[in-house]
């Protein structure tokens, strides 16, 4: 049975402490700039805050993973290199990377430090994963959310590194690291700036009849009836019309959230080393609630008890949950 590490999101120092206190085995976080894919306003860590956070986590037996998982545009590579140097100096336990130039720099400049391959590298075949293991010494791959349990079992046999999969949180089916939808509408890039449907371009408009539209850069992404749950205007979660779908439909994905708690025993059995909880942009109450619930579940499974996950419906956007691709391929 694998260690079944819980990898938990830390958007702010307070959230990091909350996650560690709630039982995280590791926390992942980023700096307040474009070097990570959750570059949201008011979120993330200064170097001083990271230094304190590493001390707090290590004192309680938890690891700190620094996300450097965006793609430096030509001419700006130094920002990522400096972030890596700072991370090493502050004692982080691993970097989560996607760009080959960033991976190469860290592997050569800081050969001892662990490299984890971000889902932003979009490595979904054993060959792609082995490319990164072979060339950069990657020790763990975060698998895209699109693989089924049988596929995970197969991949496990063919790759030399550990596997980490998402277990809870916001669910997107666009291949991460290959998406410029946000840049197309707003001029800020997911890959280069670390933003997705940025708040600076978001607008909610309430109408006379009680309905509410969400817009991004003036494009209407969705419209909610007076009693309908609302959502954030993430482009791939919007409703659009097509020639034969004039009524409007979720062209890409419904705003559901991933929750694989019921599949934990099978996933552990399939050889998954670590479980990632998504949500660096979520609140401390989310972190506390989700991390403690999964901590309990993992501890139960490892002790041979049945896991009992409390109802986390209210914390999921749009308040619908899915087991995603993990059970069946039918959704493709």
């Amino acid at each position: 049975m694998s260690l079944a590490e819980l990898i938990c999101p830390a958007g702010t120092p307070a959230a990091l402490r909350t996650a560690v206190d709630a039982g995280a085995d590791a926390v992942y976080c980023g700096f307040q700039d474009a070097t990570n894919a959750r570059n949201f306003p008011g979120l993330n860590f200064t170097p001083d805050e990271l230094s304190e956070a590493v001390a707090y986590a290590h004192a309680r037996g938890a690891k700190v993973l620094l996300a450097l998982n965006t793609y430096p545009p030509a001419g700006k590579v130094d920002l990522w290199r400096q972030a890596a140097d700072t991370g090493v100096r502050l004692g982080v336990d691993a970097f989560i990377v996607a760009d080959m130039g960033v991976a190469d720099y860290i592997a050569r400049a800081h050969p001892g430090i662990r490299l984890h391959l971000s889902v932003q590298a979009a490595a979904s075949s054993p060959e792609a994963i082995r490319y990164y293991c072979q060339n950069f010494g990657v020790k763990r791959v975060v698998l895209p959310r699109i693989l089924t349990i049988p596929e995970i079992r197969e991949i496990r046999k063919e790759i030399p590194c550990e596997i980490e999969t998402f277990i809870f949180g916001n669910h997107g089916l666009m291949v991460e690291g290959r998406c410029s939808l946000t840049n197309y509408l707003t001029g800020q890039s997911t890959n280069m700036d670390g933003v997705c449907s940025p708040a600076s371009d978001v607008e909610y408009t309430r109408h006379e009849d009680g309905s509410m539209s969400s817009r991004l850069s003036g494009f209407t992404i969705d419209c909610f009836g007076p009693d309908e749950k609302a959502g954030y205007p993430t482009i791939c979660k919007g409703r659009y019309t097509a020639p034969h779908r004039p009524e409007g439909y979720y062209a890409f994905e419904e705003p559901v959230s991933l929750n694989l708690s019921r599949l934990l025993p099978e996933l552990i059995d399939a050889g998954v080393h670590a479980f990632k909880i998504e949500g660096r942009q979520r609140s401390k109450s989310y972190v506390r609630g989700v991390v403690s619930a999964f901590r309990q579940a993992v501890d139960d499974i490892r002790a041979g008890r049945a896991a009992n996950i409390a109802d986390l419906v209210a914390l999921t956007e749009g308040q619908k949950q899915t087991q995603g691709a993990f059970e069946t391929k039918k959704w493709r």
Binding site: K76, G101, S125, E127, A128, R130, N191, H244, A251, R332
Partner: protein, 303 residues
Amino acid sequence: MTRLTLGPIAYHWSADMRRDFYARIADEAPVDEVYLGEVICSKRAPFHEADLPATIERLERAGKTVILSSLAEVMLKRERKATENLAAMEAPEIEINNAAGLFARGRHPHRIGPFMNAYNEATIAWMAARGATHVCLPAEMPAPAIAVAAQAARDLGLGVEVQVFGRVSLAVSARCYHARAHGRTKDNCQFVCEEDADGMPLRTTDDRPILRINGIQTLSESYVDLLPETGRLVADGVTHLRLAPQAVDMVAVAQVFRGVLDKRTPVDEADARLARLSGDADLSNGFYHGAAGYRRIAMAAPA
């Protein structure tokens, strides 16, 4: 001399449509290089793979350099095998769009496709050291980054390519959105993507055109038009300019670009012609100018 290229066909055009298309390209289009192959969906490949040898021969006879492009998303066994097979080819050149292809190819010469995220000089240097001879830059890169990347690539002896016409790829997925729109899944899609030769249009619920669907791919609604910017691109070191095939007269499009590159046609006149050739499609150049991709930024004076 700057080379004009024709990118791989993104859409699911029938074998007949492709044959006619490439015959005209071979005979009439002033393009120097043509990329062939299925980049988006492995289910489509059997429909036109059989024609590949004849198409390659036809294009090469007409003096075009042919390159085979690999799949952007590689997951299923048949996709991994197809990528491996492509990587084993001695000729023609291949363009790799997935790390699985890089793994299979090793250090044999290859081109880096726009899906490989070669955004910066460090990544380009890494790839060059492992056999890359040419890099096509991601479509969302702004001008200053293109200039630095192009310089770095040139210093290493690589060709550098930028897409200057046609819809740009904005996202790919494991899920097929064409099938989904028709209530199906990728497994039982019945190739409904064939109905949309220029992509399936998506509009917002208040009726504004926004995106195009092509199988697992999401494309821009607008056609990129960097015709006025070609002078600056060339001056910054870009060696190859890519035209993405759309369901318009691509021979005429190529002629317009060739006319500007050869300095036979004034840019304003050429761009007006390009707009007419593009039909109802909006033209955009936002990415290049560091703005939202859908926007059209007027240049003070074409370079």
